[in-house]
């Protein structure tokens, strides 16, 4: 899936970040992301890698889609993809 999932960086050790995705904490690699990432930043995770640091002014807008998908609890393919990406162990 190409949607990816945004999450909040809790801590960073070398090229690995601990990231919170709606209460699920996972390690995400920072090898690919092209900006410095620190605690409090939001990143877009795709298959265990941060592909983008979300600009602070866009965080709310970015989270809105996911909030909407998680809130409607739908069993449609889009909601399932997002939930499985959040839950997938990394």
């Amino acid at each position: 899936m190409c949607l990816g999932v945004p999450g909040k960086v809790i801590e960073v050790h070398d090229s690995v970040a601990l990231v919170d995705f709606w209460g699920v904490r996972k390690e995400v690699r920072l090898d690919i992301v092209d900006e410095a990432v620190g605690p409090g930043d939001y990143i877009l995770n795709h298959v265990g890698f941060a592909i983008r640091r979300i600009p602070p002014e866009s965080i709310e807008e970015t989270l809105a889609l996911y909030e909407m998908l998680l809130a409607d609890g739908g069993d449609d393919l889009m909601s399932l993809d997002v939930r499985s990406e959040i839950e997938a162990s990394s």
């Binding site: 190409c2 592909i51 866009s58 909601s79």
Partner: protein
């Protein structure tokens, strides 16, 4: 339309009205293509097609990486697994038919297949065993950068990669050049463009005089992207417009691009059912021959020739569907012999496949009939 599912229903309604006006101003039927499974999922989930004018056709192109994985690529995985190596791959790949067998068939006859979510997990499996572990890697540039990163991060010697990664920009050229194509504009996927940047589409637009709009994934993002795209078509001013600036920049993610092209080189190859796509496949460069499963394992596809291919496979029209020439309802197998439980074609396997999405949502509303 279900207002609750839109953050701003008034805006959605206003954009739908604009879309009707713009298409009618062209004085013709307009067909545009998106190349992203997540876009199709959103269009289906939010019922956007019921908001489009019936003279606007929004077609899902080859935007499902699993669906465009060619049969011989699946065969390569099956043959490597038959040699005793463990295959690590993404869940959707399991049921994708090869010429003779799928990986699920191979697993049923004893092959070791691990489902992974990330290329990193394949490396972790390799670290935990002395067996050969082969990451059967599918996906577009967004996923290929993750594979590149694990290859550059000193994986253990028993780890290798069978790359079926594909690169989106060249296949858009193919669709644009098909003689029977009706596609007048492309909606590009936001997150693939986050890697490549919006500028990657500029030479394409210059060559084909077809506009490209990069759009996000919210229903209103898609509506706004379509309004922009149809306006460019109506005005006859093809250019690249980035409607997803919070995620996509003009240059893209240069660090990811550097790793992608350090590890991979683009070569021509077939996309399932569509065509030979020049530069559409990503293969490992010679410097990474030691990690390249194609060079570590003998793969003799002719050994499969003794087996008959599944009889129904020849009737599958996935390729025409992904090229925008036909839709799932034109397929004799769709929702009859071909269903998610026993898919004939790859488009019914993946959650990002047009046929699977249409199967789940009951296709598109018959607007002609209800008009």
């Amino acid at each position: 339309m279900n207002d609750l599912q839109f953050r701003d229903p008034r805006q959605a309604r206003s954009m739908a009205a604009t879309l009707v006006r713009l298409v009618s101003e062209t004085g013709r039927k307009v067909a545009v293509m998106h190349v992203c499974g997540s876009h199709e999922q959103a269009i289906a989930k939010y019922g956007l097609r019921s908001l489009f004018p019936k003279t606007l056709e929004v077609i899902m192109g080859p935007g499902c990486p699993v669906c465009v994985t060619d049969l011989p690529e699946v065969d390569e995985g099956v043959l490597i697994a038959a040699q005793g190596a463990r295959i690590a791959t993404f869940g959707d790949m399991l049921k994708v038919p090869g010429s003779v067998k799928s990986l699920a068939d191979a697993q049923a006859s004893g092959a070791k297949i691990d489902i992974v979510y990330s290329p990193r997990q394949a490396v972790e499996i390799a670290r935990s065993t002395t067996e050969e572990v082969v990451l059967f890697a599918t996906g577009f540039e967004t996923t290929a950068v993750a594979t590149a990163a694990v290859i550059l991060d000193n994986p253990p010697p028993n780890f290798s990669v069978l790359s079926a990664h594909k690169y989106i920009p060249p296949v858009m050229e193919i669709v644009a050049e098909m003689p029977e194509t009706r596609i007048e504009g492309f909606l590009a996927a936001g997150h693939a463009a986050a890697i490549t940047g919006s500028a990657i589409f500029e030479p394409f637009v210059a060559r084909h005089k077809v506009p490209v709009v990069i759009a996000g994934f919210e229903p209103n993002d898609i509506m706004a992207g379509l309004v922009e795209l149809v306006e460019l078509i109506r005005a006859g001013t093809p250019r690249v417009v980035n409607m997803f600036p919070r995620c996509v920049t003009r240059d893209g993610n240069l660090r990811a691009q550097e790793q992608l092209w350090r590890v991979f080189r683009p070569i021509g190859g077939r996309w399932r059912g569509i065509a030979h796509v020049p530069n559409g496949n990503l293969r490992l460069r010679d410097e990474f021959a030691h990690v390249d499963a194609r060079r570590r394992f003998p793969i003799d596809l002719t050994s499969l020739w003794d087996y008959a291919p599944p009889a129904l496979a020849g009737q599958c029209i996935c390729g025409d569907i992904m090229s925008g020439i036909r839709n799932p309802n034109d397929c004799r197998l769709f929702n009859r012999e071909c269903v998610p439980e026993s898919p004939v074609g790859a488009c019914m396997v993946s959650n990002e496949g047009t046929c699977k999405i249409w199967h789940l949502y009951g296709g598109v509303p018959d607007l002609e009939a209800s008009a």
